[in-house]
């Protein structure tokens, strides 16, 4: 080496640098806020999470008899409203997680690896933003249901809303897994129809009845969240439902972790 190297002390830029923990907390807060602004700008996402579920509710529940027919501690309209709230939340959560795919394609996740943000914090940001929008979706759908004649005890409203929202976590994990797995720029074009099929298969769009199909339906990822979301309304709390939620959540989370490690490994 021929260069004459005279070590110089760089002027350490100390301004504005905060402690690691405070810095991370602020970084995550800023990032989640930006993610929410991005969602508000995406008309298609808004249509799928805020407009579609209430419209579906209106289509499914417009028969007047549903308002007078009782279902558990509420009426049939309430039962359908909870189903649609879960559907909206799961579509929203899936879309939020699947957004990872486009960001990988654009090289954004690679860029993030050049910043102090930990890769796991990025996943947490996507998850948090998806769940916030999911909560808004649940609220809007249930509000429309209430205006449309859904009736159930106050406690059931709150508990159903919470359970529908928590159930969407399974699909946030599903979206993340698919986002890391699929190379497509717009994964939701594939996942949208898949979610609709799952909603039918798991009994969200119509009652399962008691035939052979009802047994098979217990294996569908929407089955568990759908059953649990209706428990406060008088639905039965079954072992099959709990096992279904735990199993699918674990599977999707493990899949995400597997692809995530592959993606962030030093090649």
């Amino acid at each position: 080496m021929t260069a004459a190297t005279t070590p110089t002390t760089p002027t350490a830029p100390t301004w504005g640098r905060t402690s690691r923990a405070t810095g991370t907390a602020r970084a995550v807060r800023t990032y989640v806020a930006l993610e929410l602004r991005r969602t508000l700008r995406h008309r298609r996402t808004l249509v799928f999470s805020m407009v579609m579920p209430p419209v579906l509710l209106w289509i499914f529940a417009r028969q007047d008899v549903f308002a007078t027919q009782s279902a558990g501690s509420g009426n049939v309209t309430a039962w359908i409203a909870v189903s649609m709230a879960l559907y909206g939340a799961m579509v929203t959560a899936t879309a939020g997680g699947a957004g990872v795919s486009a960001e990988r394609a654009q090289g954004w996740t690679r860029q993030l690896r050049l910043t102090p943000l930990r890769p796991a914090a990025y996943v947490a940001v996507k998850l948090a933003a998806a769940m916030v929008v999911g909560a808004a979706s649940v609220t809007v759908t249930l509000l429309v249901g209430w205006l449309g004649g859904a009736s159930m005890p106050a406690g059931a409203w709150a508990a159903c809303a919470l359970l529908a929202w928590v159930g969407a976590l399974v699909f946030a994990a599903f979206g993340l897994f698919m986002g890391y797995l699929l190379p497509a720029e717009n994964v939701m074009q594939i996942l949208g129809p898949v979610l609709a099929l799952l909603a039918f298969g798991g009994g969200l769009f119509m009652p399962l009845g008691a035939g052979r199909w009802a047994a098979v339906a217990q294996l569908v990822p929407t089955y568990g969240p759908a059953q649990l979301a209706h428990v406060p309304l008088g639905g039965e709390l079954t072992v099959a439902a709990v096992v279904n939620v735990v199993a699918w959540a674990s599977l999707f989370a493990a899949g995400t972790a597997w692809r995530f490690r592959k993606d962030t490994a030093r090649a």
Binding site: M1, T2, A3, A4, T5, T6, P7, T8, T9, P10, T11, A12, P13, W15, G16, R17, T18, R20, T22, G23, T24, R26, A27, T30, Y31, L34, R37, R38, R41, H42, E103, Q106, G107, W108, R110, Q111, L112, R113, L114, T115, P116, L117, R118, R266, A267
Partner: protein, 317 residues
């Protein structure tokens, strides 16, 4: 250099760095025993043709890929730790931007990720994109996106700035502003390492030039020293007939003052310590025409050093 309390670890230390990629035709060696040490506060240009291993090396310095063998130390530590501490920032060639957010949002987010509390405004101004703050990234031109990447690198206030072909897509004014900002940072003590294949840029803006060819360093030193490695000038001449060209080449090589003769189509590039003698020889004793004497520039050094570098096992990109 021995480490002790009075000499801090160098900004960058690469020792015996190798990187092989698997491919259908067997492993491809992109980086082949690269050694490099960059002191704090230096502005170093890593110069080499496309495929010389520049980008592979940068990826290893940034911890994006792991070396096949050899070591990488940034400020005496593992790249991952230095990135986590926010002491390194990089401007990569392509991608790395979210198209649906604005220029201002991108820089503000990057500042937050680096744990910076200040306003991103001054950084947008230094990168010359303050007027684009409200524009969506996807609506920006290639040159504007490159300036945005630069603002993102500046806002982290890194101690080491790595730039991979940083001025690609920028117009002349943009380049000048870009390098003015870089030089100002370097004057304040920041270490800057940039990869380029633009000789002019390396010559004008770097304190030191590292020539890389086929995955290894073929010359390293202050810009003036590397130029002088070419020991003089390059004389170019045209010989249309292939047979004549071979004959002229052989006679040139027989001259004492000729260091190397390189062929570029019908043109011969003669590296020599005595350009007058070679030019006179070409014009009076051969059929050569269009004789040109190129000044004392990096191009000559580059041609000389990269064309005579040994090829290892034919394995290079």
């Amino acid at each position: 250099m021995t480490s002790n309390l009075t000499t801090p670890a160098p900004a960058l230390l690469l020792r015996g760095l190798r990187k092989e990629y698997a491919s259908a035709g067997g492993p491809v060696r992109a980086v082949d025993g690269l050694d490099l040490e960059v002191a704090r506060g230096e502005v170093v240009a890593v110069l080499g043709p496309n495929g010389a291993g520049k980008t592979s090396t940068i990826d290893m310095v940034l911890g994006l890929s792991a070396p096949t063998s050899g070591t990488v130390q940034v400020f005496g530590a593992d790249p991952a730790d230095v990135i986590a501490a926010g002491r390194v920032a990089a401007v990569l060639q392509t991608g790395g931007l979210l198209r649906d957010i604005t220029v201002g949002e991108t820089v503000a987010l990057t500042a937050a990720l680096f744990g910076r509390a200040g306003s991103p405004r001054p950084y947008l101004e230094r990168a010359g994109i303050a007027d684009l703050a409200g524009r969506r990234v996807g609506a920006c031109s290639g040159g504007q996106q490159q300036r945005l990447r630069f603002a993102m690198a500046l806002v982290g206030e890194p101690d080491l700035l790595l730039l991979d072909e940083p001025t690609t897509g920028m117009d002349v004014a943009g380049r000048r502003a870009f390098w003015a900002a870089i030089r100002a940072d370097a004057a304040a003590g920041r270490t800057v390492v940039f990869a380029t294949h633009d000789l002019q840029e390396a010559d004008t803006y770097a304190d030191r030039v590292v020539l890389v060819s086929q995955g290894r360093v073929v010359a390293d030193g202050p810009t003036a020293d590397v130029k002088s490695l070419a020991s003089g000038r390059t004389v170019g001449a045209r010989v249309d007939d292939a047979g004549e060209r071979a004959d002229v080449t052989a006679r040139l090589r027989a001259l004492d003052v000729v260091d190397a003769v390189d062929q570029r189509g019908a043109r011969l590039l003669v590296r020599t310590s005595d350009s007058d003698l070679v030019a006179r020889f070409l014009l009076t004793q051969t059929v050569a025409s269009d004789v040109e004497v190129a000044g004392d520039n990096l191009e000559g050094a580059f041609v000389a050093l990269t064309t005579t570098a040994p090829t290892t096992d034919g394995a290079h990109r």
